[in-house]
Symmetry: C2
Subunit: 285 residues, 2 copies
């Protein structure tokens, strides 16, 4: 039976470290600031933004939750983003997805100062990630959190075969880039991939972010692989499950993330960590 | 024996098309402009920049070759790049590599207006490529030229297994992104990759940009694969050869690029094509 990768425990450690860093900054008179932009009434978005706001405040981060009605004009959001760009109290800005159809999300994202792009979605930061740039830049929080898990559990990446299933801009693509930058040999599978199981069976490290419940079953996994499940689905009995069929994969894998309690807790912890990163980077030039 | 992919013939077609587009633009009073920045006395760089300048002029593109001494100051280059950014006669700006050690190439690259970044190396454009953005943006010319070859020879990419050997910012990485955006299932191999031949043998499309002479031999290639050789090495008898051992691979591949006459001619043709792209994009908003 595989070792369970305990995302809650690692997230707790990261949060403790973040709180310490916030305290050190406070001693220099610096308070990290996070601005979260929420448009409309999407219930999940309301929950997520409230969680982020609460966690930030708990860690001593100055948090601004900016809520707009569903019919807010693009120009108003652009104006407010530019204000946050200028605001010395704000170090990280994020726009909660999804946005209503009448808004141009790309234009809003591009309006964020790349140095305050706490989600790491701005094309400039994506470019730095793919170029493996030798400087500080923010990275999408879920894959960055997964890298923290892999590091914590000392999973060897250099020379390892890594397979990422799914190629979203939020998870799959930056995940592949991070693994590549760690000198793994990376394959990205997508919905056009033929013989998926042939590819996944080659993976020493398998990251599944396909959004398809139980896509990956035991016979698709190499003995001794590390399996990271980014999926989250609610079953009829209200329990949560992932893109990986835990029951058949756990006996084959060396390490595996449970759902819930694996990748999930890492995302917000990484967002807070990255808010403090941005703050430190901006003060260190 | 494999079909030879004739880069010279495809480059000629592209150049003819570019010349026609330049003529059409001229009828509207628009002349595409290319600024090439050359620092120092590197013999290869001098040859390349002269080739670019000559080809641009031949196609009716306004070409400015800006030559600086080896000890030019960073500030002078930054100043001139900013002038080219403002110059309405200039649509594409490129900095010939390599640069002397005292210069900060990243800062110079970042100073180029992304809309005039004819090499497609600016992080903003790299980010758009990796995000598969639904807008116009320049892409590194060698991999973009290879995509033109693959298209010309009707190589099916959707669902194909593609392997890119090498992960330079100029070729390997943008190549992988372009293949990914064409819905191939892409693996990037690097110098840490173990069992390289096991991976290359899975490739329906194999692009080799490793900079290692004859790295890929016949037994490393799948029967019927399309093999693209980006390498260029000069043998003792002065003939040119690539990263692929043509003699052993050609009988196995379905299609293969020769060296010379394969990928090589595509790069400058694509640079000229992209200069006209940038010109058209800037005039269409």
């Amino acid at each position: 039976m595989a070792i369970l990768i305990d995302g809650r425990a690692v997230a707790k450690e990261i949060n403790e470290n973040t709180a310490e860093r916030v305290t050190r900054l406070a001693n220099e008179g610096i308070i990290p600031g996070l601005a979260v932009i929420l448009v409309g009434e999407d219930p999940a978005s309301k929950i997520y933004t409230r969680m982020k706001d609460k966690k930030a405040k708990k860690l001593g981060i100055h948090s601004v939750l900016s809520v707009y009605p569903d019919d807010v004009r693009q120009e108003e959001l652009l104006h407010d983003i530019r204000q946050f760009n200028e605001d010395k109290m704000i170090n990280g800005i994020l726009i909660q997805e999804p946005l209503p159809d009448h808004l141009d999300g790309n234009e809003l994202l591009n309006a964020i100062d790349p140095h305050k792009d706490v989600d790491g979605f701005h094309p400039y930061n994506v470019g730095l990630l793919y170029s493996n740039a030798n400087e500080n830049y923010p990275v999408s929080c879920t894959p960055k959190g997964i890298m923290s898990l892999l590091k914590h559990y000392q999973v060897k990446l250099e020379g390892a075969r890594a397979v990422v299933v799914g190629r979203s801009i939020l998870v799959g693509k930056p995940m592949a880039a991070l693994l590549e930058n760690a000198n793994a040999t990376v394959t990205i599978a997508n919905r056009h991939t033929r013989n998926l199981s042939e590819i996944t069976r080659q993976a020493d490290v398998l990251v599944v972010a396909a959004g398809v419940k139980h896509l990956i079953t035991g016979e698709m996994v190499k003995k001794g692989a590390t399996v990271i499940d980014v999926g989250i689905h609610r079953l009829e009995d209200k329990t949560l499950t992932g893109d990986v069929d835990f029951e058949s994969v756990a006996p084959i894998a060396k390490m595996i993330t449970p759902v819930p309690g694996g990748v999930g807790p890492m995302t917000i912890a990484t967002l807070m960590e990255q808010t403090v990163d941005l703050t430190e980077w901006s003060h260190n030039g």
